[in-house]
Assembly symmetry: D2
Homo-oligomer: 296 residues x 4
């Protein structure tokens, strides 16, 4: 069972979103928009970006409304027809249907501010997703999560049994979710886990100006006297905290802020920045190209 939405899903029931990338060149937009027009699609949003005016990579997100796509058979026919066009331009592409909500797993540790905020936004109808389960290496938030009807799995992680713990998580997640959100999950996931989980993983972490890599970042930012602290949401890659950035924000702090104050300000930023990143991902607004994101 998963948390069902209080509000109707955002976007019309029959909206589809087409995401495309390919080498830029003449005629691409004309071909795609003519195709959609001929299929009877009514475009409701259309974003394009090219990394270079002449020989860059082209990106496009078209959200359109096409009643015929309600029928499963029609959908296969539509996708096959588009695939033919896509081959001509050697496009990478994917399509998603707004009423097919993404299935999401949340992973968390002791700090529950991001976890509860996502659950709250889900209930309110702000985030149009099905929360399949919460996995935590601590058991603290069980009551609160289960009260919302979301399954809670406590998978402790010890250095010795990290591989086994990841294995248990993969059993729960493998093929069952479309996205994993690390809502302040304080364990580093292995490259093998990331490969086997088979779906995007979004993480949130503190950011400072300048950055303080390594242990105790808030302590070191405090010691240096930073005037701005921030949070960054990004896709997780095997290289720690170096994945493509989806969203960031900062807040000004002063010398009167204690270390505890910095952490508290960081919490407020983390939950807002993570929620914005998740929302962009759910709306299929994020494309990744050579390690950087295009966020339409």
């Amino acid at each position: 069972m998963s948390l069902t939405p209080a509000a109707p899903p955002r976007g019309a029931e029959h909206t589809a979103r087409l995401l495309i990338s390919c080498a830029d060149g003449p005629g691409i937009v004309a071909s795609i928009s003519s195709f959609l027009f001929e299929q009877g699609a009514n475009i409701v949003a259309n974003d394009q970006h090219s990394t270079h005016p002449e020989h860059g990579t082209f990106f496009m997100r078209a959200a359109f409304y096409l009643p015929a796509l309600e029928a499963g058979g029609e959908r296969a026919r539509f996708e096959a027809a588009f695939d033919e066009l896509a081959r001509r331009f050697e496009m990478e592409w994917r399509i998603s249907y707004a009423h097919e909500r993404m299935r999401v797993a949340l992973m968390a540790s002791r700090e529950d501010h991001c976890l509860l905020d996502l659950l709250w936004r889900r209930r309110r109808g702000e985030l149009d997703m099905d929360i399949e389960c919460v996995i935590s290496n601590h058991d603290d938030a069980r009551a609160e999560v289960e009260a919302l009807g979301v399954p809670y799995h406590h998978i402790p992680v010890t250095p010795a049994e990290k591989e086994a713990a990841e294995g248990r998580a993969l059993e729960l997640l493998g093929g069952r979710v479309d996205m994993v959100i690390l809502a302040r999950y304080m364990q580093i996931l292995s490259g093998e886990f990331l490969e086997r989980v088979g779906c995007p993983v979004i993480n949130i972490h503190h950011s400072f100006l300048p950055a303080f890599a390594g242990a105790e970042p808030y302590r070191r930012a405090y010691d240096r006297g930073v005037k701005l602290i921030g949070a960054t949401a990004h896709y997780v890659t095997a290289e720690l905290d170096a994945g493509p950035i989806i969203e960031q924000d900062v807040q000004r702090v002063g010398h009167g802020y204690t270390l505890e104050d910095l952490v508290r300000v960081g919490r407020d930023l983390e939950r807002v920045v993570l929620a914005r990143a998740v929302r962009s991902h759910l709306d299929d607004r994020v494309l990744v190209h050579e390690g950087r994101t295009i966020v339409f």
Copy 2:
């Protein structure tokens, strides 16, 4: 004579920008992009917006590269061909050519921070425009402006002779400029002036959260203890400070800020916000629809 740029103009010499608005409906994007493809245009940037998923107004900005348009004759043929398409969809449209720099007049009063900043950015190549002249109701900045090779016209304004003063300005500007920038020009322009000048007029003014309409806004914002002060750049309409907003920004202030500090912070905001708005306008990124802007 006008201030000539130190740096090469931004954007390729042969880039054209097509701006379109019309009632939204199926086939518009397909028609435009097919037209551009058939003409041999290489689209370098393409932005669209619709005010409503189904029965809204559609806006588009296409920047494209088309070597043939270099020849004046070709350009007329191209525009006539597009006009035919435009009529079919009842589009409003305009086209501009990047290498035809806009002719701009600056109007200022005693405060010179916005005036000098625009001149400086122009020289640096940040703003790709020809500054035809500066008109001021004070003579203070003459030496500095003329040293940069820009003509300076001192037109004093007294309540009794305001109409005559506007008349003199119109003689200098009428039909000779593509944009007027009010760089802290502290006189209210009449509706008649705005109509007769025949080009967009951009203004910058202080903004507070909340707003303080009327006299002495900084004093009143100070008295209320505002924590954020800001600046708004907008197109000028006959209704004072109510025109379509192009750009805004704010800065945090505290109880330790004196009235003089607020004014100083405001100055820093004003010059940055005005420069950003001017840049968007020069790049033909701003469309106005029912009193609000779409800034691509």
Copy 3:
């Protein structure tokens, strides 16, 4: 019964906070700091502000640690001694003791984002206050609030019975709380209510740059195409939304934001700005002088 904190209260158990304002003049700081030193107080934070270098109003907040004040009798003696000094400089002053948590009532309507956020921060130990009760003109949030052990009073408000409704609220609040927080309470409180409730009332409301007074502000901000929306937390006075500002913040928005998006962004700002304002008030950091705040 009220919501009890999960974390130990912020600040040492025996910290006291002295807030002072008076006409500025020589010797004030010397007198106060000498007094505190002679009493054996260990000052842990000390903030001062004067509205003018020479003939302004002086404000001071001194947080100090004084073990002797634990005993009730000692406290009376200390306060009497200080009062003598205060009379000499015609000071207004008050003292509060960190371990005496403020008793707070929350008033809300249908929108629960600020309400739940305050409850959540209370439980987490971020806001050191006792939440005595929630009063709402709707019954929607009852289950959630009561699950946290906080009494919930549903007092419907109709135009005809507004006075009676305020009377019922006053019965619950009168003399029993130290602060009322309007956590998106959508009824205008009468001047009489504000006078009789006998404690500060903090409100949160949307803010735009520029402001849009009156009905449907988000709609009108959207229509004008504002690029920044914000939230303002302020003390409530009889004049609607014109009370002293405690805290403000903004977020940048663009033409692609729907009206619904603006409201959602506004919600995120409102809960953060309200929480910051409440925290400043709880820490006795806010002084009000002639309609503006000094926030130490």
Copy 4:
């Protein structure tokens, strides 16, 4: 000859600023404020900070008005009297007199946006300092600087002759200036230079969230797809870009920003952040303690 101010200096002619740091303990504020009161000083601003409620380091900035200090002899007597008090608490302290403007040298390279901005603010009266000279490793800005009456020294720097170049700069600066501002000076100053120049050196540099140390930071920030870019002003220490931070700010950017756009946004931030940092330093608002700043 140096650039003389257009506006009267900020702050009264006879204001003095006392900056103090020492181990925190009872009686410090009382002693200092009693001393100032007895001397007849009228305190116009008073800021204190302690790094820890009980056993931290104490910092204080008192700005006061004391007509007697106009006479040179009185000043020596006052300072000797205060030194006696200071010894009792083992204070480090310094005093400055507002009407004794700091003598400043600017060092720059090819990019002139920070250099011209500082000169412009100086002329306007925003920065109350005497600009003794500009030193640059390029000759580009000579005309503009000399037109403002400021001496311009061109000291080219080659890897082979870096030591000699620093020697020439030291001859110009040694003992003659109170602050050096690196207004986009693109050479790394040696530890020996920093020691021998004998005054604070303030630098401005780009900052990203997260940081990108090393070469081509804008390129790498662009490659990672950062959503915020910033600038940091700091005191220069022998460790590159790791000195105490005085001021920082950021601006949001998106995937549509070119590398050139990021650099342009960076320029706007750099000149504002540097000017704010310089202003804080000129007002004696910055104290440094164990590598972090307290900015009153």
